[in-house]
């Protein structure tokens, strides 16, 4: 779980980001103006900042210059190449183009958290404990053997907990985009995971869509 500062002046989009990031287990602090963001960053530490480039009171980049040492993903309009160049010049970690896809946003947030070593080290649900860096899974203190593929799939499902991932998305994320498998492969691996870890109640099949890990 990471603590994320969301700087976006449009309340609808700020709420959208907050809703989705909290859904997958992050803690969010919303800021509607640049000043608010700088104040919040001065008062508490954050693992990540999502920053809109166009704010009513100041430019997003000015916020970035004031708020140092917080990994930043900035939100920009399509085709604004100068924004990208400027953002990366100031040390941004990634950017997201509006309008964005929620799944892509979550994936990029996870990628930046992983890169800056701010992702969660361990995850516990019921009698199950998973140590992400050691690639180990324990059930009631007993180690359970998972294949690397099963482990990756479990990781992606839990990283996107409460959000449904399509079979296609799971294939591209867990097997790599160049894997020309069938979506059947996903079903088989999901069955195995459910059986091995007794996760029948947590890995849900979503009608017409895919799978969702529910806490």
């Amino acid at each position: 779980m990471a603590k994320i500062l969301i700087v976006e002046d449009e309340k609808a989009i700020n709420d959208l980001l907050k809703l989705n990031l909290e859904m997958v287990g992050h803690q969010c602090v919303p800021a509607l103006t640049g000043k608010e963001a700088i104040r919040a960053a001065g008062e508490q530490g954050f693992d990540l900042m999502l920053l809109d480039v166009m704010l009513p009171d100041m430019e997003g980049f000015a916020v970035m210059e004031k708020v140092r040492d917080v990994p930043t993903i900035f939100l920009t309009a399509r085709g604004a190449t100068t924004d990208k160049v400027r953002g990366f010049g100031l040390g941004a970690d990634d950017y997201i183009v509006k309008p964005f896809e929620v799944a892509e946003l979550l994936a990029r947030v996870q990628a930046v958290l992983r890169r800056t070593h701010r992702e969660e080290k361990e995850y516990t649900i019921g009698d199950l404990t998973i140590r992400w860096d050691a690639h180990e899974v324990f059930q009631n203190g007993e180690r359970v053997e998972l294949t690397p593929q099963e482990f990756t799939l479990l990781h992606i499902l839990i990283e996107n907990r409460n959000v449904c991932l399509s079979r296609q998305k799971l294939l591209s994320e867990a097997w790599g985009t160049d894997f020309l498998g069938e979506s059947r492969t996903v079903d088989v691996h999901i069955q195995k995971l459910r059986r091995k870890l007794k996760l029948e109640d947590h890995i849900k099949t979503i009608y017409k869509n895919g799978y969702r890990f529910e806490e």
Partner: protein, 376 residues
């Protein structure tokens, strides 16, 4: 670079090329007329001098020809003319400022140390080679003046054209790019909430929030679309103007906004009813939003003036500056969105001017002053 800027650069370049081509086509004949006039005059003068010289030498006593010729040619020393007389290759007489070697029977220009000369090389019937050289500084200056004038005129016209084209393209493209930007936010929100509704496990409350945002943002989109259409119509100015009943206009607005009170001292305006209604509606809508709930918004029509007054907390200097000159701002301001530029457009189409000011009690007064109204 944006597409319209590319189009602008290309068309400007093309127009400038065509313009310079035309200027060249006009200037070239004028230059050749100047050149021909100068050479013809030189040739005529040379013929006269050569003929006289020939006769003078014929009449001179034997052995005195050379001094006679010298005396005769020195007569021209002050007129900028210089000569050389040679017998076969042996120079007999020369006042030339520079060495010149030209075959007999030719004429033209030559340049020496930056000065332009006209020469005529001739052979006299007596067998002497006669070279006439004229200082052509005046012709040179004339040619230079003609070329400079053409280049300057061309550049000036090209610059004027480029400026006019820029303003035109900028004005056409600015509202479009603003709208495109305005639409991005509702689109992002609608797409995001729809995806969240489809994929995420939401509580009843979250589901309600997501659906409400989609509904709210789609209203915003249709609002933008409606305003775009009005903006388009306001620009076209195609609708014919007619008398509009102010009382009826105000009453119609009071039905939408119950807190509105009005006074009419100007019964009819000459204009477009739909556009004026949209203008008053926008002004009243902003005034109602700025007022505390239930506070009255006053509408007043005095000769040539429509005013909308609210008793809200008023606008900051920055916001006032924006609503008075929205076209100077690149980004749409939260205090008015697209409505304010639209109101200015409608006022302009009616020969009127919209101004915002602070009211006596700190609220805001929006005044539309009609300058060329036909009925009052």
């Amino acid at each position: 670079m944006k597409l319209w800027q590319k189009t602008y650069l290309l068309s400007t370049l093309l127009c400038a090329l065509i313009l310079y081509g035309c200027m060249f086509g006009v200037t070239a004949p004028a230059l050749s007329v100047t050149v021909k006039g100068a050479t013809d005059a030189a040739l005529r003068e040379e013929r006269v001098i050569a003929g006289t010289l020939e006769r003078t030498m014929d009449q001179a006593p034997e052995g005195r020809q050379l001094p006679v010729m010298q005396t005769f040619l020195e007569y021209y020393a002050d007129t900028g003319l210089t000569f050389r007389v040679a017998e076969i290759d042996e120079e007999i007489y020369s006042t030339l400022p520079c060495p010149v070697k030209k075959a007999p029977g030719t004429l033209g220009f030559l340049r020496d140390q930056g000065r332009l000369y006209l020469f005529v090389s001739d052979r006299l019937p007596s067998g002497y080679d006669f070279l006439y050289l004229k200082d052509a500084a005046a012709t040179d200056a004339l040619l230079r003046r003609q070329v400079t004038a053409a280049a300057l005129t061309g550049t000036l016209v090209a610059l004027l054209m480029a400026a006019a084209l820029y303003i035109l393209l900028y004005r056409v493209n600015l509202p479009v790019s603003r709208l495109a930007h305005e639409m991005r936010t509702p689109l992002t929100a609608m797409k995001g909430y729809a995806e969240t509704l489809r994929d995420a496990r939401l509580t009843e409350e979250q589901r309600y929030m997501a659906a409400s945002y989609i509904a709210e943002e789609s209203t915003r989109l249709s609002d933008i679309s409606a305003r775009l259409l009005t903006l388009h119509n306001a620009k076209e100015e195609a609708t014919p103007f007619g008398p509009v009943d102010v009382e009826e206009l105000f009453d119609h607005i009071r039905q939408t906004y119950p807190t509105v009170t009005y006074e009419v001292h100007w019964p009819t305006i000459f204009g477009d009813r739909a556009m004026l209604s949209s203008l008053i509606n926008n002004l009243v809508d902003n005034a109602v939003k700025a007022s505390p709930a239930g506070a009255p918004v006053e509408l007043r029509a005095a000769p040539n003036v429509l005013a909308v007054m609210d008793h809200g907390s008023g606008m900051s200097d920055e916001a006032l500056n924006y609503v008075n000159h929205p076209s100077k701002f690149k980004k749409l301001h939260s205090s008015g969105g697209l409505g304010v530029p639209l109101c200015h457009q409608i006022a302009q189409a009616h020969g009127a001017k919209l101004t915002y000011a602070r009211g006596a009690d700190g609220g805001t007064v929006a005044t539309v002053t009609f300058y060329n109204s036909l009925t009052s």
